[in-house]
Each structure stands twice: as structure tokens, then as C-alpha cells.
């Protein structure tokens, strides 16, 4: 017993020792400091799985320009200080690209990223104004911002209503914390510009009780409902809609809506429900098919095969196909060894990249780190998602004016340091 304890302690000591810095080796390394145990667990396993599967596929084909890909996954439990620890540790091991996939941690790591000049990937989380590449030089929130998504939803409604939103009633249903509050500003601006009637209906955390929100919505009887909720909150919303006699086809969900939620609502009951998304869902995508054939059929998958049908799997695949492509361009253009500066140039030369139709085409420029922010609206027809629009980016001027306003505030506070 004593010996065991001694070996355990020495193990602990050793593992603490192993945090010492190491030289940057030959492989291209990407750090995923993820929340695998607390709040974001509804997406992180699928995203980590897809990233590692795709890395496996890339490595089978000889890596990125001859350099093998290594993905380091570590849990931070959605706690800012553990995210910072993960960043600080891996930074010293020579990793230059970081992904936290958590808004609190991304916000906590961002000041250090900006100071150290490393690459922060923060697709779909963190500060939305970070798509302004002139201010946030090192941050790449490739994908749509919540402002952009909301604007695209309004654009879709506009298309549906024959080009005019005059007199339309749109309800914005949201969970009452920063994630849900984010689109309010842009929606107000658009309501003024387009002349639709906007109703804001918040419901409190943790989102299990939306009864009063839906009573309000029933009273107002809106034409459309745009919903900023996460996974199971959509299921609760669907129940409230049935209870209040509101057709589910009026409901447009934010991108955080997956197959599990459909299953919980019931495939038939969800018929007509819409969601905005920046990736094409389903495992019939060419890239997913290739992974299934080359990785899973050979028994090298990094998780349960059934997760590959999840839209969040495709979301992860989209993020990492962009990241790997960016790194490939960086090596191709500026050569090995990589530096954050070269990676930045690589990312910024992504042009109309869509990973074989997996996602909205992405064009990153030094000004726009969001890659265009395109999404599309899909409708659930009982068995699959049917795209209702092309990849669209509505009201770019309004979206960018919000972005610029916010990023200018950040730039100002940085300048005053």
C-alpha cells in the first residue's frame, strides 16, 4: 500500500514535471482545449471526434504538405482559469493554433493570444466582433457571427414574404444571458430599416421553463419566431408551441440544433421546423463519406460511428477542414517551419473554400476573419433537412457596422493601456 502510494505520488510529480517546455517537432500541432465535462458537452465530443478523424484521414494521405497532423485534446471544464492553464502549457510546447470552443474560455484566453501573437480559432463562440481582422489580428472566428446569423434569418423571412417585411411580426425568443442577448441590437436596427414589428421575448436560465414566454408569443401571434436557444431548450420550445397551438413551421432555430433534438421532439412532430446553419448536415456529404470509408471501415475511428450522423460532427469537420487548409496554404506559400505569422497569412488566403460542399464557401481576408459569414435556412421534412435558400449573407452593411462599432471599442481600450 505504502509503495503504491509512493508510486502514485511520484507519478503525480512526474506528470507535473512533464509540463516542462519541449521543442517544436516536425508535426503540425493543433490544440483543442475543450469543455468535455460541463456545459458544452452537447457539442464537444462530436467536434473533437470529427477533428481527430479528419486528422487521421489527412495523415493517411501524407499529412499537410508532408507534415503529419497532431491534435491535442484537453479538458478545461468551461473554467476560464483551466483554459488559460491549457493555453499557457501548450503554448510553451510549441503549439500555435488554439481552439477553446467555449465563450467564457475564449474571452479569457483572447487577451493572451493578442499579446503573444498566436492563432485563436473561435468559430461560433466568443466575441462576435473578432471577425474584424484589422483589430483582432490573431483571432479567426471563421463562420457566421450571431449578428450575421440573425440578419440571414431576417433575409430569409424577407425572401419568403415577397421582398418586403412591412407590417410583418417577428418574435425574437432568447435565453436571457449574453449568448441570447447578442442579436438584439442588430434585430432592432433591421426592424427600423425594414419596418417589421419586433417583439423580444426572453426566458430565464437554465431554459427549462419557457411557459410565460410562450403565453406572450401566443398573445402577439407573430408571423415568425427566431429562437436563440441551445439544444434541449428547443425541445422545450416545441412542447410549448404544441401547447399554445403555434405551428412549428414558424420556428427558426439558431445553428445549435441537432439530430438529437429532432429525435427528442419526434421526427414527425418536428416537420416544418427550420434552422439556420453554416454547414450541410447529414453523413451523405462527400467528405464524411470519405472518412467513413477510409477511417471507420478500417476501424480507426475516434469515437462512436453513430455520431458521424450528427450535424455537430459536420460542424467540427467544417472548422478543421478550414484550419488544415489554412495551414496547408501557409506551408505551401511560406514554407516550413511554421510561425503564427505564416499561419495567419495562410488563413487569410483562403478563397471560396467549401470542403467539397460541406459548408458555405469561405473567403478569409485580412479585414474579414469571419470568412463571409454565410448561412442557409434548412427545413426538416420529417426525414431529412431540405435547404430553403442558397448560402446567403444578408444585410452585410448593418452587420459590419455593429462589428466595427464593437471592435472600435476594443481597439480604444487597447490603445489606452
Amino acid at each position: 500500500m505504502k509503495l503504491k502510494l509512493a508510486s502514485l505520488t511520484s507519478g503525480l510529480a512526474l506528470s507535473l514535471m512533464s509540463m516542462l517546455p519541449a521543442n517544436a517537432a516536425d508535426p503540425v500541432r493543433f490544440a483543442m482545449c475543450l469543455d468535455l465535462s460541463k456545459v458544452y458537452t452537447f457539442i464537444t465530443p462530436q467536434i473533437a471526434q470529427s477533428a481527430r478523424d479528419y486528422a487521421e484521414l489527412v495523415n493517411q494521405k501524407g499529412g499537410i504538405e508532408g507534415h503529419p497532423v497532431e491534435i491535442i485534446v484537453q479538458d478545461h471544464g468551461n473554467e476560464p482559469q483551466r483554459g488559460i492553464e491549457c493555453y499557457e502549457k501548450l503554448k510553451r510546447e510549441g503549439v500555435m493554433v488554439f481552439d477553446t470552443l467555449s465563450t467564457p474560455v475564449s474571452r479569457a484566453v483572447l487577451p493572451r493570444i493578442m499579446k503573444d501573437g498566436n492563432i485563436l480559432i473561435q468559430s461560433l463562440v466568443g466575441r462576435g466582433d473578432a471577425i474584424d481582422g484589422t483589430v483582432f489580428k490573431w483571432v479567426f472566428p471563421i463562420g457566421p457571427t450571431y449578428w450575421g446569423q440573425a440578419a440571414n434569418d431576417v433575409e430569409y423571412i424577407k425572401q419568403k414574404s415577397g421582398g418586403s417585411l412591412k407590417g410583418k411580426k417577428i418574435t425574437f425568443l432568447y435565453i436571457d444571458y449574453p449568448f441570447g442577448q447578442e442579436p438584439i441590437g442588430i434585430l432592432k436596427t433591421l426592424a427600423e430599416k425594414e419596418g417589421f414589428d419586433l417583439q423580444l421575448v426572453p426566458y430565464p436560465l437554465p431554459g427549462n421553463d419557457q411557459a410565460s414566454a410562450w403565453t406572450q408569443i401566443r398573445r402577439n401571434n407573430p408571423d415568425w419566431i427566431i429562437s436563440w436557444s441551445l439544444s434541449n431548450m428547443h425541445v422545450i420550445a416545441s412542447r410549448e408551441m404544441t401547447r399554445n397551438g403555434i405551428p412549428i413551421s414558424k420556428y427558426i432555430a439558431v445553428n445549435w440544433f441537432n439530430e438529437v433534438d429532432i429525435k427528442n421532439i419526434g421526427a414527425d412532430a418536428a416537420k416544418g421546423l427550420k434552422r439556420g446553419t453554416n454547414v450541410a448536415g447529414g453523413s451523405n456529404q462527400p467528405l464524411v463519406q470519405e472518412i467513413l470509408k477510409e477511417v471507420y471501415d478500417k476501424g480507426k475511428g475516434n469515437g462512436d460511428r453513430k455520431f458521424t450522423e450528427d450535424v455537430y460532427y459536420n460542424t467540427g469537420l467544417a472548422i478543421y477542414s478550414i484550419v488544415f487548409e489554412g495551414a496547408r496554404l501557409a506551408i505551401k506559400k511560406d514554407g516550413w517551419p511554421l510561425t503564427p505569422e505564416k499561419l495567419k497569412n495562410g488563413f487569410e488566403s483562403l478563397k471560396n473554400y467549401d470542403a467539397n460542399g460541406l459548408m458555405a464557401p469561405i473567403t478569409v481576408t485580412p479585414e474579414d476573419h469571419g470568412g463571409g459569414g454565410k448561412t442557409r435556412i434548412e427545413e426538416w421534412d420529417g426525414t431529412k433537412w431540405v435547404p430553403q435558400t442558397d448560402w446567403i449573407a444578408g444585410f452585410p452593411d448593418e452587420v459590419w457596422s455593429v462589428v466595427k462599432q464593437q471592435s472600435a471599442d476594443y481597439a480604444k481600450s487597447e490603445a489606452n493601456k
Binding site: 507519478g11 509540463m19 479538458d75 476560464p80 488559460i84 449574453p178 447578442e182 493601456k417
Partner: protein, 357 residues
């Protein structure tokens, strides 16, 4: 043998009231202080900036909570909110051109004023009811911060913290920030050490043991509870401000959410109520153990050739960490500080253990 008491004579009041009458304690404290002061010379920057620094700041925070929970015996479930008030006040202060030193004190005072205002209402009830009403403070603060853009810094709810300028000198290096944290932690520790032997400290302990018994012997329990809340809130406010300035560099509501309050509470309870060294242990345990467990499990898995899924690797440390908390509290309900004291008591008379019996 190690903690020799031979030759210690209480011949005057000063010697009798010394903080560390036993030479071994003095040697230990001195060595630790010397190590802490020279840490930037021999410690690698990762340990310094990611483990030592947050540990010191959180220790100061835990000591502040220990004042109200361990000394005055009043529950406080909204401690993180009070830290948040201090952090926001200080950051706004610096952004409006107030010098950093004054802004930090201002943060402490703001936290103190709000803390005391809240305590006026909350202290009308006791025990678990008080715990719940302090929890309300947490939720009121969370709500206010996320609904008043002027406080939270707009829809992004992140406010960049300006760099520290100490008497006009910018402090940005890892070592510099570490020293700021160290000095604050030492200040709070010294205050708490001395609190034990002041009238205030004794009054607080009297209130903790039985507040109406304290009232009978002439201690105004309501007044002392308020003092405890005010002092602890001041420490919390300054600690929050220092945490943001030295570690996070940006202030967001999640850094001071209800989870963090529970963590702070856990630091004090695991460390030991009313124990100063316990606060050091508790903060270290709660703050650093999850990360250390994580590394340890990954290392062990690699060592024994186990290929665990990433989710198992994330959850296993949590389970082990939980088990450790339960284990320690089963062994010694009074916390890690008491375990340390047990060891010290044993060594006080070792090798003549029979002396104790």
C-alpha cells in the same frame, strides 16, 4: 524534536503574544517567504503565471471568505459576486483615468459598501436562511451585470482590463504580476494572523459560537457581523480586482458566477474553517487539483498503455477529485488545515508520544 519548545519562556507580553513562538515555525515561515520571494528566479514561467499566481490570489480570496465564514460563522454564498463588484469597479475606475492603486482600493470600498448594504437586509435572518439570501446577492449581481451594458461593457460582456501601473510603472512581466499577487496575499495573511489576537477577532469568534451568548457578555453581535461582512467584502473586492488585473486581463460575468462562489466556499471548507494555512491548502486543492488530476490520469493512461476516450479522460479526474474531497473530509472533517495541525501536534512531542496521553 523539530518543533522544540524547550527554551521558550514567556517573560514579557511581546514574547507571549508572538505570532510564531516556536523557532521551527519561524524557520519554516522564513524559508517559505524566501522561496516565494525568489520564485521568479528558479521557477519556470508556466508554473509562475498559471499555477502560483492564481493560487496566491485565490488564497487571499479564500482568507476573506474565511473571515466571514470561519471567524464570524456567517454563511456567504455570494462571495464571487462581491469579488466581481470589486473587479468591475476597479476596471471602470482605471478606464476612467484613476491611478491603478487608488482604483483597486476603490474597488474594495465599492464591494464593501454594497456588501454591507446587502448584509443589513440579509443579517436579519440566520443560518441557512442567511445562506439563501446571500445566494440572492449572487443572482442579483449576475443579472445586473448582464443587463446593464454600462457595467458589463456592451453586448460582448467583456471589458478589457488596462495594464497595471504601479506608481506610474507598467507591470506586465510574469514576475511583476506574480509579485503584485504575492504582496496582496501576504498583506491579507498578515491581517488575518493578527486578527486572531485582537478584540475584533475575539468578538467575531464569540458571535460565531453563539450570538446571543455574545450579546449577553456585551458584544453587539449585529454590529460585529456587519463589520465581518464589510471587511470580508473589502478583501473580496480588492482580490477580484487583482485577479482580473494580474490573471484574466479582461473581466466577464462568468469569472464571478455562482459556480465560482461555490468553489470559493469549497476552498474554505476543504481547507478548514477559521484556519489560515488551511486557506492556502484549500485554494490550492480546489484550484489546481482538477488540472493536476487531469495530467496525472493522462500520464497514467499513457504509462499503462490504456487507450481511454477523450470523454473518459475528462470525467475520470473529476470523479477522482470528488473522491479526494470526500476522502479528506472523512479523515478530518475540519479540513486540510486541521490535518496539518494534527501532524504538527504529533511532531511537537515526537518521539515522546506518550507525553500527550
Amino acid at each position: 524534536m523539530f518543533f522544540r519548545q524547550a527554551g521558550i519562556f514567556h517573560i514579557n507580553y511581546a514574547a507571549d503574544r508572538a505570532l510564531f513562538p516556536i523557532p521551527a515555525d519561524r524557520w519554516m515561515v522564513g524559508t517559505l517567504l524566501a522561496l516565494a520571494a525568489t520564485a521568479p528566479l528558479f521557477m519556470n514561467t508556466l508554473y509562475l503565471s498559471s499555477y502560483m499566481l492564481p493560487w496566491l490570489v485565490w488564497t487571499a480570496g479564500a482568507l476573506g471568505l474565511n473571515l466571514v465564514l470561519g471567524w464570524a460563522g456567517q454563511f456567504h454564498l455570494g462571495y464571487a459576486a462581491v469579488m466581481g463588484i470589486g473587479a468591475y469597479a476597479a476596471v471602470h475606475g482605471v478606464r476612467h483615468g484613476i491611478p491603478w492603486e487608488i482604483a483597486v482600493i476603490l474597488g474594495g470600498l465599492t464591494a464593501s459598501v454594497i456588501g454591507i448594504g446587502f448584509a443589513f437586509a440579509a443579517l436579519r435572518v440566520k443560518g441557512l436562511y442567511l445562506a439563501l439570501s446571500t445566494l440572492a446577492l449572487q443572482f442579483v449581481m449576475d443579472w445586473t451585470i448582464s443587463h446593464v451594458p454600462a457595467i458589463s461593457g456592451g453586448t460582448q460582456a467583456t471589458l478589457q482590463a488596462p495594464d497595471i501601473r504601479l506608481l506610474g510603472w507598467p507591470v506586465t512581466s510574469d514576475a511583476g504580476l506574480y509579485y503584485v499577487a504575492l504582496v496582496w496575499c501576504l498583506l491579507v495573511t498578515t491581517f488575518m494572523l493578527n486578527l486572531r489576537r485582537t478584540a475584533l477577532g475575539r468578538a467575531l469568534v464569540a458571535v460565531r459560537e453563539k450570538d446571543y451568548a455574545a450579546a449577553v457578555i456585551g458584544v453587539n453581535s449585529f454590529y460585529y457581523k456587519l463589520v465581518a461582512f464589510a471587511t470580508s467584502s473589502f478583501i473580496a473586492g480588492v482580490t477580484g480586482a487583482i485577479l482580473v488585473n494580474t490573471f484574466y486581463h479582461a473581466v466577464t460575468p462568468e469569472q464571478f458566477s455562482v459556480d465560482v462562489s461555490i468553489q470559493a466556499l469549497a476552498m474554505v471548507i476543504v481547507g478548514g474553517l477559521g484556519s489560515i494555512i488551511g486557506s492556502y491548502f484549500g485554494a490550492g486543492f480546489i484550484l489546481l487539483m482538477p488540472g493536476a488530476m487531469n495530467t496525472f490520469i493522462s500520464w497514467a493512461a499513457a504509462q499503462f498503455g490504456l487507450s481511454l476516450g477523450i470523454e473518459t479522460l475528462a470525467h475520470l479526474p473529476q470523479a477522482l477529485y470528488g473522491a479526494l474531497i470526500i476522502g479528506f473530509l472523512l479523515v478530518e472533517p475540519l479540513g486540510l488545515g486541521k490535518i496539518y495541525n494534527n501532524v504538527r501536534d504529533y511532531l511537537l512531542v515526537w518521539p515522546f508520544g506518550y507525553v500527550k496521553k
